[in-house]
């Protein structure tokens, strides 16, 4: 294929616009976050003249920020566990279903994802506010006398984030379970395993890659979410992202905000790596 060489070289022009765009406005900007996080703070202008570690030192020494970081991580783990518990049965059910409702149910999972984030969170404001639908329903049923505080704290943020991110868990898992041959479960059953045992020992381990993909996606998206905690978190349910935006937009403390953003990103990477290490034992045995 000697004739292909000039073609291949000219073909490289196809990818040049995209590469230029990404390098100029994606890669370089990431360097500017890192650089900004080491700049000296200033009252006049965006940052001072020199470089310093002070932004990191004061962030790590600040118990308020450490508590916020811990709460954000905990929120991420909570949302991931809830979406797994809600999403796995749905993915399993749809993957194994043979009926004409298939397409409609798929739309039900996909549609919320395509409706705007602010709109969906607004829906949860309607449901969770003090006089909202949830409290109305509960008091009508006689379960509560006084309205429950479901908003302006982590309760509301957790519920709404679980809703917002559920499709991100279901979709990869669905693809994964669909690819598992149902016959393997039948084989386990015919060899005397109970339905539960067949699921636990055969299907669940085989769907581990789907769980991994979905869980990481949900975790990263939930700790980096801004809209939902900003709208539903109030004062006490503020996450790290809300804090970072507050630093940047309201307080105009860019170097300190940049350091917080980097700390959040590093914490996310460490947690994902830990999760990989923990689930590695299961996936390693897979064919």
């Amino acid at each position: 294929m000697s004739g292909a060489a000039p073609d291949a070289r000219r073909a490289f022009l196809l990818v040049v616009p995209a590469l230029a765009l990404l390098v100029a406005f994606f890669v370089l900007p990431y360097f500017s976050i890192i650089i900004m996080s080491f700049r000296e703070p200033a009252t006049q202008g965006v940052h001072g003249g020199g470089f310093t570690l002070a932004n990191y030192v004061s962030a790590v020494g600040d118990t308020f920020i450490l508590r916020k970081l811990g709460e954000t991580m905990l929120l991420g783990v909570g949302v991931t566990v809830i979406t797994l518990l809600l999403g796995y049965p749905v993915a399993y059910h749809l993957a194994r279903m043979r009926s004409r409702w298939n397409g409609l149910l798929y739309t039900f999972i996909l549609a919320p994802l395509l409706v705007g984030l602010v709109v969906r969170t607004f829906g949860w404001m309607i449901i969770l506010s003090n006089g909202g639908v949830a409290n109305q329903a509960l008091s009508w049923l006689g379960i509560i006398d006084d309205p429950l505080r479901l908003m302006n704290n982590y309760v509301g943020v957790t519920i709404a984030l679980a809703h917002v991110l559920l499709p991100f868990l279901i979709l990869p898992l669905l693809a994964n379970i669909q690819a598992i041959n149902p016959e393997v479960e039948t084989a386990a059953r015919s060899l005397g395993a109970s339905r539960w045992r067949a699921f636990w020992r055969v299907t669940l381990p085989l769907s581990m890659p789907g769980i991994q993909a979905g869980a990481i996606l949900v975790f990263v998206l939930s700790i980096s979410a801004y809209v939902t905690p900003a709208m539903l978190g109030g004062g006490s349910g503020r996450t790290m992202s809300v804090l970072v935006v507050q630093y940047l937009v309201e307080n105009f403390r860019w170097p300190a905000g940049a350091a917080l953003a980097i700390i959040l990103a590093v914490a996310a990477i460490v947690t994902v790596a830990l999760f990989f290490a923990l689930t590695h034992r299961v996936t390693r045995k897979l064919p």
Binding site: S32, V119, I127, G131, L166
Partner: protein
């Protein structure tokens, strides 16, 4: 059909989750038709008065206009850049294909809030800042680009390369081959990617919040700001308008291309 308690429990649970998924969206649409003043049940009557209020709200109508414009430009640019890059990746890149694909997908894999902050700092450093909303437009292109790239890549992956080779060997130029053979075959992928890019651009929040210029706001940011101070059915009206638009897009799309071909 044999009765099976395990299956029954699974079915009930799954139905409950579907209700959970759809509830907020359905509630918004119902409450936007409320003739009363508040976002509460039971609704007092059915009317379109809040859609009228929306029509008369300059802030919201301007924001809708801005969002349409930004989404259209993003779709156009991402559509071209993404398609070309996907063709190179699948057809010509060999050793570097994996790394290149990962790089092209990076804006999707890294949280949007970080990209927004990075771009904000960068735009200030090169002296443009948030003037003319250039940063906002570029940010939208960066985030929508992977959707086109991904969908076109998977369309290219699934078709027979020998069709292109046949066209070339019969004397067609590369450009001719692209126009008459490749493009028609990957058209569903391009359409899917572009539709996705448009919807995603319409939803992007963090980049719009941090990079909007003075006096320009996209719809999600405008709705967010509105809900800080007001909590009335105008917000429900604009939300249900965007829900209905999304639903129409999904329905048209499902009719012509099929929902299952969407790639995330």
């Amino acid at each position: 059909m044999r009765r099976d308690p395990g299956k029954l429990i699974l079915n009930v649970f799954v139905i409950a989750v579907y209700i959970f998924l759809m509830a907020p969206i359905v509630l918004i649409v119902i409450l936007s038709l409320n003739s009363g003043e508040f976002l509460l049940f039971p609704i007092e009557g059915v009317s379109l008065r809040w859609f009228g209020a929306l029509w008369n709200s300059r802030q919201f109508m301007d924001a809708i206009g801005t969002s349409f414009q930004v989404a259209a430009i993003s779709t156009f640019v991402s559509g071209i850049f993404g398609t070309l890059a996907a063709i190179y990746c699948i057809r010509f890149a060999h050793r570097m294909r994996g790394a290149l694909r990962l790089f092209m997908m990076a804006p999707l894999l890294i949280p949007e809030i970080l990209t927004a902050i990075a771009l904000l700092f960068f735009m200030y450093q090169i002296g443009i800042g948030t003037r003319y909303s250039i940063g906002l437009q570029i940010g939208h292109i960066i985030v929508t680009f992977p959707y086109v790239f991904l969908n076109v890549s998977s369309a290219l992956f699934n078709f027979d390369k020998s069709l292109e080779e046949a066209s070339r060997s019969l004397g067609a130029s590369p450009l001719m081959t692209f126009r008459r053979v490749t493009l028609p075959l990957i058209k569903p992928g391009v359409i899917t990617g572009c539709l996705f890019a448009f919807i995603i651009s319409f939803d992007i929040f963090n980049i719009s919040l941090l990079l909007k210029g003075i006096g320009t706001t996209t719809l999600p940011v405008q709705l967010f700001d509105y809900l800080r101070w007001d909590f009335d059915p105008t917000a429900a009206a604009v939300s249900s308008l965007s829900i209905i638009m999304t639903l129409i897009a999904i329905l048209i799309f499902d009719r012509f291309v099929g929902l299952r071909s969407l790639r995330f």
